[in-house]
Amino acid sequence: MFSNFLIWFVIVPVIMMAGLACCGNSNMKAIRTVMVVCSTVLLGMAIWLVCEFLDMRAAGDTSEMLFTGSWMWYEPLNIHLAVGVDGISVLMLLLSAIIVFAGTFASWKIDPLPKNFFLWFALLSTGVFGFFISIDMFTMFMFYEVALIPMYLLIGVWGTGRKEYSAMKLTLMLMGGSAFLMLGLLGIYWHSVPAGGVPTWNILEIAHNSAIAPSWQNLLFCFTFVGFGVLGAMFPFHTWSPDGHACAPTAVSMLHAGVLMKLGGYGCFRIAIYLLPSAAQELAWIFIILTGISIVYGAFSACVQTDLKYINAYSSVSHCGMVLFAILMLNRTAMTGGILQMLSHGLMTALFFALIGMIYGRTHTRDIRQMGGLMKIMPYLGVCYMIAGFASLGLPGMSGFVAEMTIFFGAFENGDMFHRVFVIAATCAIVITAVYILRVVGKLILGPVQDDHHLTLTDATWWERFSTATLIVCLAGIGFFPNWINETIQHSFTPIINALNMAI
């Protein structure tokens, strides 16, 4: 079992937790050492995995999932610990590793209880990695919830503002989502095989059996899609996100907006669409309407916010809406765009929240009306913020542009009026995005200095420069050379596309 490489993505964070447990309660040196070492190891593993994966693909290994392994866990219910990755999950793992890495540096000076913070942080990352490697619905769901619950304490204890309220709201809403999700999974499990067979949780087997009756599919699709959609901040279930993000500490906002919200989108196509294709064909329109709304809606409501974190939370609603929207277009190009959008939004939002954390740590306010001309005071952060902004409004050369264009061109492939209308509505979002991004940049980074006390503030420290630079490099990397990622993702969608075509 330990010979399988993927398992180590779960084991290393566990080791990280063990290591942290051994550290002294406030022995920052030891804690940082453990965190940096482990997150670096994870990043290295992720990069190695990507290279290895591409090599194996290049070597002509066309099996749907690579590095697969499956070990019986709960024998009476046929629950396995099954792992495997395709191009998408590999990239997601890389994304998570990058953001965990950056998040570690972003929370360099966390206080109080640094040890507990990193313990929960590590648990969170365990869940995230576990989710992306598992191809067994049960373990997938388990890791999903493992990733959700630490949010409560991370926000509640280390957050700011109305943290109790936000933490509780976030946790309850996400758990509400996962309640529906659970029911959907149960339904899928019990109908996963033709009558008489032994039901299975394994996604690949279920997909190959494709034994779920259409009547059940429709019900289960709604359950699963809503379940994941809540985490994907789909209108009208997005309202946990603004409060949650606004109150969370920097690293948590990064990880949550950067990776956790991606769990939603990932699950949507990996389970809801892949396993229930005919329902997807039939019911997509409902969710297209909802996600279409959240794209425009999020952008518009971001225009009037005055709290930096709220602005980014709402833009996350808009961008994640874009992800689900793309996935629901049910064709290869658009879905690829959706994944690209996940990656780009992950990096971008992480960068945003990191910067906001750093600015907040200096000015002790997140209200854009009380800040201004930061470019003069902290040029490095200012420039980074502008870069993040440009990435967010889809400037060519940044990942956002690639993702959005792929989505639009893919979505436009659906020829009927309904899709057309919503695609064009979605494209309008790029203008609105420009509006609110430039509004913030103009108020916050440019313009005259609002508060003379800010004049004494210092620019970024080395660890801050490090974490932001990492993210910016990734953003630009995708933006300049998108095609290899694009091809990897497109190839990985083949089975899903086939399932959809068979379902028609």
Binding site: M173, P236, S301, P396, F401, F412, C428, V431, A434, G442
Partner: protein, 661 residues
């Protein structure tokens, strides 16, 4: 030609951007300036080499039995949406591209040189040069685009570099606002362009790969332009609101061009863009970026031609804009704004010229593609003399520290070089022989007359207006009456240092001689050379009109006299309206702030906070409320407990029994 030069042409400015942008903070101003200028000098040289090889080498690759070819020097895949929708980054070399290379690099070099003097004392000098390099890179990438998507990519990039340069003085709220406005307005236009591209590429990419359009990428210019008829065919007659889908697509794409080229009603950003440093205005907002729209139309000319409605649309938009801008320019007092409006009007001229061109012979017209050639020609000459004018204005502002001609007057004694060069510029734009403006404008008017007498007459009038307001400005600045401030205040306005004067002189010379370039030999719509000859009638009319306008201006403004104010008081309303640009900004302000921002955005935000969020909180509240309401059940007295118990048991039995019965 190898791929080395083209790649270098793109690589050098980008490298400069990175070097100056990242390393600039550590550099001294001098080093940064020299780096930038040298880089651009080399760039210009390379561009000239490329252009000259293209035009004069006579290589069969470039000119095949007298027809200039379109050559893709290289074309590499950047992103593949589908097998038919592949985005390439490449280098397409053809007459207009070569011409633009020359224009861009020349002006850019001049501006680099000029800025060294002009921006000397500004903080962020290095940043400024970095942004200039970024802009040069983006603009070059735009003109060499091999496909519409590459064009769109660099289209966005020029937008952003213009944003950065307009907002260069980022501490001034006005500059920030102007840059924001410029970006958002153009972005709004680009949205239409994007939709246009979506529609076009959708239909093209859904033709069979072995069809007449071939298997090439649906974005590719060569493929689209080679046999546009099939592009139309590929839409299988799909129509939308009466027009064929292709018409709509092309109009949408053109709207993108309207945004960049500041056609009405998307012109509002350009005057504000003058908040940027003057050299920037010369480079971006006079010579290069703003003509991107014209370039777009020229690039797509064959496809535009097969949907004549779109050409008509272009003509109308251009005609209206030209007149509007000219009128407004007559009533401005800020010299940069006057120049800005004159730019708008001149670009509109080119648009109309393009709109009046055909790509197949028409009876009664001896050369149907004249408008195309003329438009490009005017693009070339206008770039030169408008850059000259802007740089001159820069010198004036540098000397007087004000944008308004009310602060100037009688400057001819103090700044002779500036005076002469500025005069040349004005003559050129007014279209006086032998200056370059005359030739290009004459060709354009000829084209318009050949299309329909109305366009010709209309645009001749605009030409007259142009001559008038340019000389109005000229006289107000250099003649009128000397501003008393010069004498009492110790420092007299004087000519600018050589780095600034040199570009003026060079450009002035170019504006004098450029007219005699046999432009038709190089740039025509189909690559076949065309021998320019002056249309006597048209030339005569335009010249007389121009001279008359200049005379009028002389009468009114050469010396201080009450005549202008008299005339102003004839129709004060008209004057204020023109001065306030006919209230376009106010209208936009109303729509965006009052309506979109205050009603839609705030409304949605309120809805989110109170309805959506409220619902979620309400669930919690209701649960709490229930738990409070039912607490009486747990009254603490055994007897109530037992009553509940018994009722429960009986109820269970009774209900089940009833259900079963």
């Amino acid at each position: 030609m190898g791929t080395t030069l083209p790649i270098l042409i793109l690589a050098i400015p980008f490298a400069m951007f990175l070097i100056l942008g990242i390393g600039g903070v550590k550099m001294s101003r001098k080093l940064a300036g020299i780096l930038g200028i040298c880089a651009n000098g080399t760039l210009a040289v390379l561009a000239y080499i490329v252009a000259f090889t293209y035009f004069f080498s006579g290589d069969a690759a470039f000119i095949l039995d007298g027809v200039r070819q379109q050559v893709q020097i290289f074309d590499v895949t950047w992103l593949a949406f589908t097998e038919r929708m592949v985005v390439n980054i490449g280098f397409l070399l053809d007459p207009i591209c070569a011409m633009m290379l020359v224009v861009i690099t020349t002006i850019s070099f001049m501006v680099h040189l000029y800025s060294w003097g002009y921006m000397e004392h500004e903080p962020g000098f290095q940043r400024y040069y970095a942004f200039l390099s970024l802009f040069t890179f983006s603009m070059l990438g735009l003109v060499v685009a091999t496909n519409i998507f590459q064009m769109y990519i660099f289209w966005e990039l020029v937008g952003v570099s213009s944003y950065l340069l307009i907002g260069f003085f980022y501490k001034l709220p006005s500059a920030v606002a102007a840059s924001k406005k410029a970006f958002i307005v153009t972005r709004f236009a680009d949205l239409f362009m994007l939709i246009g591209i979506l529609v076009l590429s959708y239909y093209v990419s859904h033709t069979p790969a072995d069809g007449p359009l071939g298997g090439a990428s649906a974005f590719n210019f060569l493929m689209l332009n080679s046999n546009p008829g099939n592009v139309l065919a590929s839409t299988v007659g799909a129509t939308f609101m009466g027009g064929s889908v292709l018409t709509w697509a092309m109009i949408f794409i053109f709207v993108g061009g309207m945004g960049k080229s500041a056609m009405m009603p998307l012109h509002i950003w350009l005057p504000d863009a003058m908040e940027g440093p003057t050299p920037v205005s010369a480079l971006i907002h006079a010579a290069t970026m703003v003509v991107a729209g014209v370039y777009l139309v020229a690039r797509f000319f064959p496809v535009f031609c097969i949907v004549p409605d779109s050409l008509t649309f272009i003509t109308v938009v251009g005609a209206i804009t030209a007149f509007y801008a000219a009128v407004v320019a007559c009533a401005q007092i800020d010299i940069k704004r006057i120049l800005a409006f004159s730019t708008i009007s001149q670009i509109a001229f080119m648009m109309v010229a393009l709109g009046c061109a055909y790509n197949e012979p028409v009876e009664g017209v001896h050369y149907s593609g004249l408008g195309y050639m003329a438009g490009m020609f005017h693009l070339f000459t206008h770039a030169m003399f408008k850059a000259l004018l802007f740089l001159g204005a820069g010198c004036l502002i540098h000397a007087v520290h004000s944008n308004n001609y009310t602060e100037m007057g009688g400057l001819r004694k103090y700044m002779p070089i500036c005076h002469i060069t500025f005069l040349i510029g004005c003559l050129a734009i007014a279209g006086i022989w032998p200056f370059s403006g005359f030739f290009s404008k004459d060709e354009m008017l000829a084209a318009m007359f050949s299309r329909h007498w109305f366009w010709g007459a209309w645009m001749t009038m605009v030409a007259g207006l142009t001559a008038f307001y340019m000389f109005r400005m000229y006289y107000m600045v250099f003649w009128w009456e000397e501003n008393p401030k010069y004498r009492e205040s110790g420092h007299k306005p004087h000519d600018a240092p050589w780095q600034m004067s040199l570009p003026l002189i060079i450009l002035a010379l170019v504006s004098c001689v450029a007219g005699f370039i046999p432009f038709g030999e190089f740039v025509t719509f189909n690559g076949e050379p065309y021998h320019i000859h002056i249309e006597p009638s048209v030339a005569a009319t335009s010249l007389t009109v121009a001279v008359a306008a200049i005379a009028l201006a002389t009468v009114m403004y050469a010396k201080k006299n009450p005549l202008p104010s008299k005339i102003k008081n004839l129709w004060p309303g008209l004057w204020t309206a023109a001065n306030r640009r006919f209230y376009w900004d106010e209208i936009y302000q109303f729509i965006t702030h009052r309506f979109i921002f205050n009603i839609i955005c705030r409304g949605i935000a309120w809805f989110d906070r109170h309805i959506i969020d409220g619902t979620m909180d309400a669930m919690a509240t209701v649960t709490q409320w229930c738990s409070v309401r039912i607490k009486g059940m747990q009254s603490g007295s055994i007897q109530t407990y037992v009553i509940w118990y018994f009722i429960g048991a009986v109820l269970l039995a009774a209900v089940t029994w009833i259900c079963i019965l």
